[in-house]
Symmetry: C2
């Protein structure tokens, strides 16, 4: 039942607003920016991800005959609106931080500059695409930081929120430094390496656990990981050790064994001893089961002899922060900056740029948030990626984005790379942006006779 990619995958009000804009001839250039208002309590930074899917969405934006039939028949829209939508394409510009860029609260990671109806219509799906992968990449990178040198594999598909979430979590976690995923479709879709072990059900089908191990390995000789804990982990390890030797005589190598329940560190030490005692030092131990960055850190700290981890649900759902407080806001219309002033939801107005200043030893020192065009020192993070509805260059590869994320995270001040909440990274608001904000507030106060905020 996978939903088709349809511009109707949007909030109804985007469509009613577009109709109103068209009725009123409000089709001048609008600037919207996507940003996160506040970082989740348990995040010191975020990793931008999802731009590639956002650009694909914009490139492919069109209403199908099926979509238009609904528009015409639903009784909510004027005659002629369907004709307008049939011709509608995204013709705007997009500036964005490349995927893999580290960013912070209030910093736009994507800016749309387009005729108002187009820029408005794409709001819902852009948020939907950008928040999810950014959220997952930002969670996954914490797992990577908590388990240095270990092979992490995304196991989150089954409890991800639907098909797209499962598939994009595989992409986002790979971008963040995971070695790969269990989700097979991520290989043909994104070139993400896929990994697989075996399930308890496989072992249960056999009357004898050792027979299950041998049968599995003979059927998949290039790719053998034996699951030990269907009945009793250490007893399983003894049987696995025997199976490994049987298989070796047939020329079949066993890469690793997997633990999936109980105290993983304790079982890993016992299983390591059993394997080593059998002369099987090359057989790696892989562990899974309710893991997140904190569990990984504990296992790392206790020196558990585990070589890799399957990290599933808590990563693919970003369980401790399953959404970001993010928004896609109008910052300028018809050349005039705009500012929302709702309680607790005020925005920095105008089209903006973010500069990153380097400190000593190649680490980032602080960022400057300013109005676009204000010359500042440092690396500007938003760049033009789409002009008049077309990409200005081919998409960077996912490996490039992964490398960018690695380098960006490496350049963060050390405390931000820890799991505990650190002193927030400094984001300065430039004098130019502060002055613009004050000016708009003065004008608003003058207009309304009301309170300036």
């Amino acid at each position: 039942m996978m939903p088709r990619e349809s511009p109707l995958l949007t909030d109804l009000y985007e469509l009613t607003m577009v109709q109103a804009y068209c009725c009123r001839g409000l089709t001048k250039t609008a600037v919207f920016e996507f940003f996160v208002r506040r970082l989740p309590a348990s995040r010191n930074f975020l990793v931008a991800a999802g731009l590639e899917q956002a650009l694909e969405f914009l490139e492919g934006l069109r209403f199908s005959p099926e979509d238009l039939a609904w528009i015409e028949g639903c009784g909510r829209f004027r005659p002629g609106f369907a004709d307008y939508l049939e011709r509608l394409r995204f013709t705007g510009d997009v500036h964005a931080m490349p995927e893999g860029t580290v960013f912070f609260a209030d910093e736009p990671i994507l800016r749309v500059t387009a005729p108002l109806p187009e820029a408005q219509l794409v709001e819902t799906r852009l948020i939907n695409l950008l928040q999810f992968q950014t959220m997952v990449a930002s969670k996954a990178v914490r797992c990577v930081l908590a388990a240095p040198g270990k092979k992490l594999v995304d196991f989150g598909l089954r409890r991800a929120h639907g098909a797209e979430a499962g598939l994009l979590a595989a992409r986002a976690s790979f971008l963040a430094g995971f070695a790969g995923t269990s989700a097979a479709l991520a290989a043909p879709a994104f070139g993400v390496p896929v990994f697989g072990t075996m399930a308890h059900s496989f072992v249960q089908v056999f009357d004898d656990e050792a027979a299950a191990f041998v049968a599995f390995a003979r059927a998949n000789p290039g790719n053998v990981t034996l699951l030990l804990d269907t009945y009793d982990t250490e007893a399983g390890a003894v049987k696995a050790a025997a199976a490994v030797k049987t298989l070796a005589r047939e020329g079949i190598g066993v890469r690793s064994v997997r633990l999936d329940s109980g105290n993983l560190g304790l079982h890993a030490r016992r299983v390591r001893a059993i394997l080593d005692g059998a002369g099987l030092r090359d057989v790696a131990i892989f562990a899974s089961g309710d893991l997140d960055e904190h569990a990984l850190r504990r296992l790392t700290d206790e020196g558990a002899p585990i070589d890799g981890y399957g990290v599933g649900t808590r990563m693919s759902t970003s369980a401790d922060a399953p959404s970001l407080d993010c928004a896609y806001k109008l910052e300028e219309y018809g050349g005039t900056p705009r500012r929302k002033r709702s309680e607790g939801k005020t925005t920095w107005p105008g089209r903006k740029q973010v500069f990153r200043r380097a400190g000593s030893s190649a680490r980032s020192a602080f960022d400057v948030l300013t109005v676009d065009g204000d010359p500042q020192e440092g690396e500007p993070l938003l760049e033009l990626v789409m002009r008049a509805g077309e990409r200005v260059r081919p998409a960077p590869s996912l490996l490039d984005a992964r490398e960018r994320a690695r380098a960006q995270v490496e350049s963060l001040p050390d405390p931000l790379r820890g799991l505990a909440k650190a002193e927030p990274y400094r984001v300065e608001v430039s004098p130019a942006l502060q002055e613009l904000t004050r000016r708009l507030d003065r004008e608003a106060a003058g207009l309304t006779g009301g309170r300036a905020r």
Copy 2:
């Protein structure tokens, strides 16, 4: 980039296990059941949802030429495996609780009886589909219980985890008693009523808030909700009241106003007074912004004059419990019951049925979990829905499922319908199931010479 519905949207190990089953001729009938091991701490019951999409998935299961090309080219599978997959269809039986059924820990809500490779292959996507809608319906119904008589609308699309999650959250929340959704595609896809208001960006485009209100209403005369809080909620209400009168002279009715920030109860009282003072008692107040069942309960308890709510992110992500501890487990193979005994993950073996016993005054009293075929009093909850790969009857309508959910929740003991954690609902394990479990453990202990558990 919406992923296509592909059987490769699965964990790689399902495919490697299927290959091993085929190599070994392990194609006898297997029985798998989907159940939740433990309820989330903040849930007193769950509402089954997602069966319709699960059955569609099983009916449509087939490998496309594109899928098969990946299987053949990835270097992991034997020659001939792609030919086997090309012919593979789901030919099994499915028993399930109808959507909208309330259920508890350890109770299977779906049972697959099929040749082992088919039953194994579908594991990942069945879990993915059943957990998500069940989780969302179970969260949404708490919102419904917390705001009796209020119109609740799903606003969760933008921060749902991808497209499918957003669309299915609209379905699941409607099933749970919401009035509808903002997600336009849910209307053509599922017949869910759609609702829309206006965004802050619309107001910001105009130099004057009042002009924005009038322009919006003129463009969408049948469907007017005015958003008050772009700058200052009460000032917005005064302007809206004037706009309503202007529009009334043009024959355009304004249905409601919307609050989206600040202390919603306080603003609602002030706005109600402004509207009433202007003689606009018929204009309803609609509120949104970071709502969940607890916020709704507080607003209900304080008697906030709010007629309806947009409930978004926290519902569509089930923010306090963004996954269920659920599993799809082998319970029988080749006529013999099976039992997984991993630490903390033991299962009740065999194919099972759940009976619900009525107590006094038409309330449910307790459930009995037993082996299939064991005669028990009460209503059996699992029924045959698919035989040999084909549905035994047309799908119930979503409205029927919604009515079933309403009646099921109404029949729960009162404490379980509260938001606080209640004494758990009683689920008895029948003597027949206990005896089967003991027998399997005795046999396992005999086989392994190990500890019985």
